[in-house]
């Protein structure tokens, strides 16, 4: 913790210096060495994280808090609810009810591991159709009981496996998009890390999309894009840049509603980031909970309707 405090102080100093146009990078290096933090500092140099590929790597950092961590911090008195009522309980999807502040909410998150064992348990964050169907069931229940829904998304995408296709992963994603578009309860989607393609967007139909600074949302993974279009998987960094997938970029394009700064990247210390996120959710929730259901659905429809032209 002492280390983290020092890091935060250094980063803050560096930020302020930059703000006033003073270059202190040389002094910073010396300070870093002095307190033996060179490696840590480099990990989250904010200038460097402006590079899309670095941001992708930060989003995927194994020590970065996962959606279940976000949920466990932000949602109180949780009750996890299981199962799709058709075939399976997909452990990758963490869904249930709890309180945000004093507001009963339904939460849906993609679970990811921070080690191999958990990653196997959670299928590396890649949901099967059953996971999406569970999410739909819980969202419909939220609608019935007039609870807002909070999504926490960090997934490489839907799982590409035999059973996943057999059980209709396409249908499950499409069904979520279709149904979520007219669910009569406020919905907010928070992208916390990787926002991988259809598997992520199936949990991102909402009035408000909030992204953590070191998260991304993309039509395809940079590696996939590089290998298909540039015929060279090693060109993933170029693909990441070309896809304009970072939270910062998407915020600029007004695709999303808010970007939550990570002064310190979350894998080093998540307290400040989560606190900012909490405030943001509070603000947006207040706004959309004041809407009647027609206004809500129109807002949601228009949000996506306008993208493209």
């Amino acid at each position: 913790m002492k280390e983290n405090d020092l890091i935060k102080a250094l980063v803050s100093l560096n930020e302020k210096a930059k703000k006033y146009g003073i270059n202190i990078s040389q002094e910073m290096s010396k300070l870093e060495k002095k307190i033996g933090l060179a490696k840590s500092i480099r990990k989250y140099d904010r200038k460097k994280t402006k590079d899309a590929w670095d941001q992708v790597k930060l989003a995927r950092n194994i020590e970065r808090p996962k959606p279940q961590d976000f949920i466990n911090v932000l949602i109180k008195d949780r009750i996890e609810l299981h199962g799709d009522r058709y075939f399976k309980d997909d452990k990758t999807i963490y869904g249930g009810i709890g309180y945000f502040d004093d507001i009963p909410v339904t939460f849906i998150g993609t679970r990811k591991g921070k080690n191999l064992k958990d990653n196997q348990l959670y299928n590396f964050g890649m949901p099967n159709p059953e996971g999406y169907r569970k999410s739909l069931r819980l969202v419909k229940q939220a609608e019935k009981f007039k609870r807002p829904v909070l999504f926490f998304v960090d997934t490489p995408g839907a799982y590409p496996g035999i059973a996943s296709e057999e059980h209709g992963i396409s249908e499950a994603i499409a069904r979520n998009l279709f149904e979520f578009s007219s669910i009569k309860t406020p919905m907010i989607s928070i992208i916390t890390g990787e926002g991988g393609s259809g598997g992520a967007i199936a949990l991102s139909v909402a009035e408000k999309i909030i992204m953590m600074e070191n998260s991304f949302l993309s039509v395809i993974s940079p590696e996939g894009c590089a290998s298909i279009l540039f015929k060279d998987p090693s060109k993933a960094p170029l693909a990441a840049k070309s896809l304009r997938l970072t939270a910062t970029e998407l915020n600029k394009q007004k695709i999303i509603d808010e970007l939550i700064k990570e002064i310190v990247p979350l894998h080093i210390d998540s307290k400040d980031g989560l606190s900012l996120l909490e405030k943001s959710i509070r603000k947006h929730l207040k706004e959309i909970m004041a809407l009647n259901s027609d206004e809500l659905l129109n807002k949601r429809y228009k949000k996506y309707r306008k993208i493209g032209f």
Binding site: P160, I173, A174, E194, S227, G308
Partner: protein, 281 residues
């Protein structure tokens, strides 16, 4: 894991270049990829693009599709004013768009208002000649406009689906078209209107995972590849052989995702029956 997930569009591209031989020469022979027979292209063309030996369904052009499905005359092309832009300044995309426009190839879907055996319909035919029929802003916008028009005018919608998925070169905008089209179908559907989709070879990725799976009635051509991830990606991920016929129409029928498999030569009649029983005249 991420590199395992994708690549599939790559494979689908390969797959289709192989199959697209059919579009080359008028008087040439073609080898049917299924029965290996050498067949006159014109004999295939006369037969709905179906192999006269083994009934393999070749990919056919949008023009051929229109001639098969729609009554002559009174075919109005809709929403042609929406054309692709290089929104992200994505490497090589601008040049690709320019060259396609030069060849007068008009985006991944064309929308017609026309009659099908006398019944007024809106028909979207996807076009694999335009970047694999991938869905970018234009495809998404045209489909959404079609469903919005269908809702307003209470017209039935038919889509001939075939696509490599979302269009990478338009980044997030492409991804969001999945939501946009699906949301427009929800409103259309809540209005009590009929949407029939015909899945043809290949229908994959973000297109399968959005509007292509949302038909009130989902038809498929025989043996079409239909899936989210491509077969080779899955094989790479799981390191097992895939079951016979995996992700083919017949497989999807068995798994409960397709209402019926219809030969292209029977399609117009089948659609007519479907439209009539839903009280369209």
């Amino acid at each position: 894991m991420t590199s395992l997930i994708v690549n599939h569009i790559k494979n689908i591209f390969k797959y289709n270049i192989k199959k697209r031989e059919v579009n080359v020469e008028e008087n040439s022979f073609l080898q049917c990829p299924q029965c290996k027979s050498m067949i006159y292209k014109k004999d295939i063309d006369k037969n709905y693009g179906i192999c006269i030996e083994c009934e393999h369904h070749f990919q056919i052009s949008n023009k051929q599709w229109k001639n098969i499905l729609l009554d002559e005359g009174n075919r109005i092309e809709l929403f042609g004013e929406y054309t692709a832009n290089d929104l992200l300044k994505f490497p090589a995309y601008y040049d690709k768009l320019k060259s396609l426009k030069r060849k007068n190839i008009n985006e991944g879907i064309s929308i017609s208002e026309a009659k099908l055996n006398g019944i007024k319909v809106l028909v979207g035919i996807m076009n694999t000649e335009f970047i694999m029929g991938s869905m970018g802003a234009v495809v998404g916008e045209r489909i959404t406009l079609m469903f919005e028009k269908g809702l307003k005018e209470k017209l039935p919608v038919i889509i001939i689906a075939r696509s490599g998925g979302a269009r990478m070169q338009e980044g997030i905008v492409s991804l969001m078209q999945m939501v946009k089209t699906s949301a427009s179908i929800k409103r259309y559907s809540d209005g009590g209107n009929l949407y029939t989709v015909v899945l043809t070879n290949p229908t994959t990725g973000g297109v399968t995972a959005s509007f292509a799976m949302l038909g009130d009635i989902i038809l498929a051509e025989p043996e079409a590849l239909i899936g989210f991830a491509g077969p080779r990606v899955i094989q790479q991920t799981i390191k097992q052989t895939l079951p016979d016929g995996f992700q083919r129409s017949e497989f999807l029928l068995e798994k409960g995702f397709v209402d019926a498999i219809v030969k292209r030569s029977d399609l117009k009649e089948k659609l007519t029956k479907i439209l009539k029983i839903h009280n369209y005249k």
